[in-house]
Subunit: 465 residues, 2 copies
C-alpha cells in the first residue's frame, strides 16, 4: 500500500525522473502551478506532489512503470468536473493531466466508431462527429466541459440515458496501461464481442482505480434526423409522476425525461422569466427524437397522452432552435441554485421508479426539519434524482444541519431500495457510506479484482469502496 498519510515528499531522483520524462513545461512541482490540480468540483483539496502532462502512450507507459517501482500514488484527471472528489490526490501522489492527450484519432462512418484519447472534450467530439451524420448519445450535464476519459472513468450518464443508456454501452474497446507499464487492449472496433471476461466494462466506471485509460474506441449510432421537446407543468407533484407513467404505458420511450420540483422551479424563476404559472409544483421536460415525419406523429401522440394528465402548462419546441429555450431552463438549475444559498451538498441518488414520489416527499420533510431548501430535479425517466442541499457553509451550525440532511437522504435512499449514486460515483464524498450499500463479500471481491490490476494500490487510492 502507498503511504496513507500525507507526509510523503518527492525524492530528488523521483523529481528528476518526472522532469526528464515529461520535460520542464509538463512536469510541475511548485505549489503555485500544481495547486489547481489538487481539487475538483467537489472543492476538497490536497496538494499534489507533482503534476505531469503526458503527450502520448509511450510517456504513460514510462510513468506507470516508474510509479509501480516507487509505489507512487497516481491520480489521473482532466478537467476536474468530478463532483464527488474522485480527482483529489490524497494520499499524496502524482497528478496526471490527460489534457495534452486530446486527439480524435479516428472517426469511421462505416465502422460507426470513434477512437479518441482521454483528454478530448465530449461535447467537442459530439460536434465533430455529428457533421458526418454520426451520434454519440451520452450527454452528462457537463458535456461541454468534461472529457471522454472522465466520462468513461465514471460511466457518465446524462439526459439521453433513458433511451440510449450510459457511457458503458458505448465503449467497445480501450487501451489501459497497468501499474508497471504493461498495456492491454480489451475489446476493439466490433459492436459485439463476448470473448473472455468483460474487462472493458470493468474499467468503465472504475474511477481511475484500476489502470490508466489511454485511448478509447466508442460505438456511434446514426444521428436521428430531428428532435422535439415538451415542457409540461403540473399543480401537483403526483400529477407529474402519473404523467411519466402514462407516457411509458403508451409505449413511448422518450430520449430524455427530466423533471424539476417546486423548489427548483422557484430557484430558476429567480434568474429567468419562467414559462410556467406560479402554482406549478412540478414540471417535466421531455425530448423525443427520430426522423422528421415520424417525430411529428410521435409528438402528436405524446401530446394526446399528456392532455389527459391535466397539465397547467404545455410548451412545445420542434427542432433544436425552438427547443433551445426549454433546455436552457434545465441548464440554469445549477447557476440558479446559488440564488438560494451560497453552498450546496449535491447527491445523485437513484431509486426504483415506483419509489420516486415517496422519496421526493420525504426529502422535502428532511429539508423542512433542517430548515434548509433542498432542490430536487434530474433524470426522472431512469429514477436518477439530483438532490442539492442548499446552505451557507460559513455558518458551522448550518453546515452541520446540511451534512446531517445528506445522511438522512442517503439513508432514505437505501431504505427504498435505491443506489447512492446513479452517475457521479463514489469518490471521497460517498466513501464512508459505501458499506451501507455494498456487502462485505462484494467489497472483498472488488478488492480482489483491484488487486489483479493494481497489486500495490497506487491507482487513485483513498476513494471508492
Amino acid at each position: 500500500m502507498p503511504n496513507s498519510n500525507d507526509t510523503r515528499t518527492l525524492a530528488k531522483d523521483e523529481r528528476r525522473f518526472l522532469r526528464d520524462t515529461f520535460g520542464e513545461g509538463d512536469a510541475l512541482f511548485d505549489a503555485e502551478s500544481t495547486c489547481v490540480f489538487g481539487a475538483d468540483a467537489y472543492r476538497n483539496f490536497a496538494p499534489p506532489l507533482a503534476v505531469v502532462r503526458p503527450a502520448g502512450q509511450e510517456q504513460v507507459r514510462e510513468l506507470m512503470a516508474w510509479a509501480q517501482k516507487v509505489r507512487m500514488p497516481i491520480y489521473v484527471r482532466a478537467r476536474g468536473t468530478n463532483v464527488v472528489g474522485s480527482c483529489v490526490p490524497r494520499p499524496a501522489g502524482v497528478v496526471v493531466s490527460t489534457l495534452k492527450m486530446n486527439r480524435i484519432i479516428d472517426v469511421d462512418a462505416e465502422d460507426f466508431v470513434a477512437v479518441v484519447e482521454p483528454g478530448v472534450i465530449t461535447g467537442d467530439l459530439q460536434k465533430h462527429i455529428e457533421k458526418q451524420g454520426l451520434f454519440y448519445p451520452p450527454d452528462p450535464a457537463s458535456v461541454k466541459i468534461s472529457t471522454i476519459g472522465g466520462n468513461v472513468a465514471t460511466c457518465a450518464g446524462g439526459m439521453r440515458a433513458l433511451k440510449y443508456g450510459v457511457t458503458r454501452e458505448y465503449v467497445l474497446g480501450l487501451t489501459a496501461v497497468l501499474p508497471g507499464g504493461e498495456a492491454i487492449h480489451p475489446g476493439g472496433r466490433t459492436h459485439k464481442n463476448v470473448v473472455g471476461l468483460d474487462l472493458v466494462r470493468l474499467l468503465v466506471g472504475s474511477e481511475g482505480s484500476l489502470a490508466f485509460i489511454s485511448d478509447i474506441t466508442l460505438k456511434l449510432l446514426p444521428k436521428p434526423e430531428s428532435t422535439a421537446s415538451l415542457l409540461v407543468g403540473y399543480v401537483q407533484l403526483e400529477q407529474a409522476l402519473s404523467a411519466a407513467r402514462a407516457i411509458f404505458a403508451a409505449g413511448i420511450l422518450p430520449a430524455a425525461m427530466e423533471f424539476m420540483t417546486r423548489e427548483t422551479l422557484a430557484a430558476v424563476g429567480k434568474v429567468m422569466t419562467a414559462p410556467w404559472p406560479d402554482t406549478t409544483e412540478a414540471a417535466l421536460l421531455i425530448r423525443l427524437d427520430g426522423s422528421r415525419d415520424a417525430l411529428a406523429a410521435d409528438l402528436k401522440r405524446l401530446k394526446n397522452v399528456l392532455e389527459k394528465t391535466g397539465p397547467a402548462s404545455l410548451d412545445t419546441g420542434l427542432g433544436p432552435e425552438e427547443e433551445e429555450p426549454l433546455w436552457e431552463i434545465r441548464r440554469m438549475i445549477n447557476p440558479a441554485s446559488y440564488q438560494i444559498a451560497p453552498d450546496k451538498i449535491s447527491d445523485d441518488i437513484t431509486l426504483p421508479r415506483a419509489k420516486i414520489l415517496e422519496c421526493l416527499v420525504k426529502i422535502r420533510e428532511v429539508g423542512r426539519g433542517a430548515g434548509l431548501t433542498i432542490l430536487t430535479f434530474g433524470h426522472l425517466g431512469d429514477g436518477n434524482i439530483h438532490v442539492n442541499i442548499m446552505h451557507d457553509a460559513s455558518d458551522p451550525q448550518e453546515r452541520g444541519r446540511a451534512v446531517d440532511a445528506k445522511e438522512r437522504v442517503l439513508a432514505l435512499t437505501l431504505s427504498l431500495g435505491g443506489s447512492l449514486s446513479g452517475e457521479h460515483g463514489v469518490g471521497l464524498a460517498k466513501a464512508a457510506h459505501v458499506h451501507k450499500q455494498l456487502g462485505p463479500v462484494e467489497r472483498r471481491l472488488m478488492a480482489g479484482v483491484k488487486h489483479a490490476f493494481d497489486p500495490l494500490g497506487i491507482m487513485n487510492p483513498g476513494k471508492g469502496w
Copy 2:
C-alpha cells in the same frame, strides 16, 4: 485446481450429500439419466458424475459450500442450447440444472423491472411481460427454448441488439452464489448505479466461470406499439451492403437488420417457396418498431432510401401478422442448412462493419478451396456474422477440410480486426483460439479476476480463456 483428468469418481459420502440435499428425484447418478446432461448443442459429450436440480437459493448455497470443500467442478446449465460446448462437464464434475428454478418472481410495471430465476425460458418471460405492455428486447434465435440464466451467462445478443443492445444492457442486478456458498447481490432495481466496480456486468457473459447466478433483476422498456418489416433482395452482394450503409446514413437505426447471402438463400429455397428471384445474391431483412403512425412515416422513409439502392425485390409486412412469413424465412435457415450437408461447424464472428464485404468474399473463397458450402448470414447491423461450414462429418477427410476451413475463417476474422465471437462465447469450441485474440496480460488479469471469485477453479473449468 480440480482434477484435470476425467478419472474422478464420486465418493460414497459425496453421493450421500447430494442425495440428502436434493432428494432422490433431483440427484441423478446413473448413466442413463445423467447422459443427456453431458452435452449441449455443440454435440461434444462428457459423462456427468451426477446431476442435481436445486429448487431454490438455500440448496444452491449448500451445494456451493460443499463443492468448494471437496473441490468439485460445478457445471451450471439449463436447456443446453449453447453451441460452443460451454455446458460440457469436462473435467468430470457435477452438473446443476436450473430448470426447477424457473419462477418469475416479480414483474413491476412501475419500476420497469422483472425479477426471475435462471431457469425461466426467455420467450416465456417475454410473452408474460408483454401482456402488461412491457418489453425485454434481447432475442437470441433460441429465445423460445433457451433460458434467461443461459442468456445472462453468455451475454446473449439477438436480432434486436442493433437498436437495443445485448443482454448486458438489461441486467440491473443479480444474486450470485460463490464457491463456498456466500451470496452477493450486486446491483438492484434501479436503472442506474455506479457504486463500486461493476460486478454485475462482470458476471454477465462469464460463461459460468465465476459463480452460480441464482436470480436476476432485468430492466424492462415500454413495449413499442407496433412493428414493420421489409425483405429486400439484391442481385449483387455489394448492393446489399451499400443499402445497409444508406439506411444508417439516412439516420435510421432499425430494430433489426439481418442478412443472408446466396448460399443461405439457396438452402432456404430448398425448404420453402422463396419470395426472391433466382438471381438474388443477397437479401436484407429489416425490422422497424415504434408507435403506429410514426412507424408508417419511418417505413415510407426507409422504402424511399431502399428504392434508390436498386433492389431486385422488396416485400413489406406491417404488423406482426404480415411480418411473420418474412421472419419465418430467417428461422428456417437452421433447419434448411441440413439440406446442404448433414453436419455443420458454426461460428459467430464479428467484424468492424467496413470489413464485412471483404470477409464475406474471402469466406466464400475458403469454402471453394475446401470444396464445401459455407452459409453466411446473421446480424449485419452489428457486424455479427454466422458462418456455417456445412460438411459430412462421417467422412474423415471432409471433416478435416471443414475443421481447416474454420481455422481459416477465424484467422481471417482476426486479421480484419474482428472478434472470434459476438454472442455464442468461447466454451470448448474456441478455447484453443482465444490466445490469438486476447493478449497474455489480458488473460492474466482475467485469471486474477477469476481467482477472486473462484480461487480453487471449480466453476466450469476447462472452458474459456
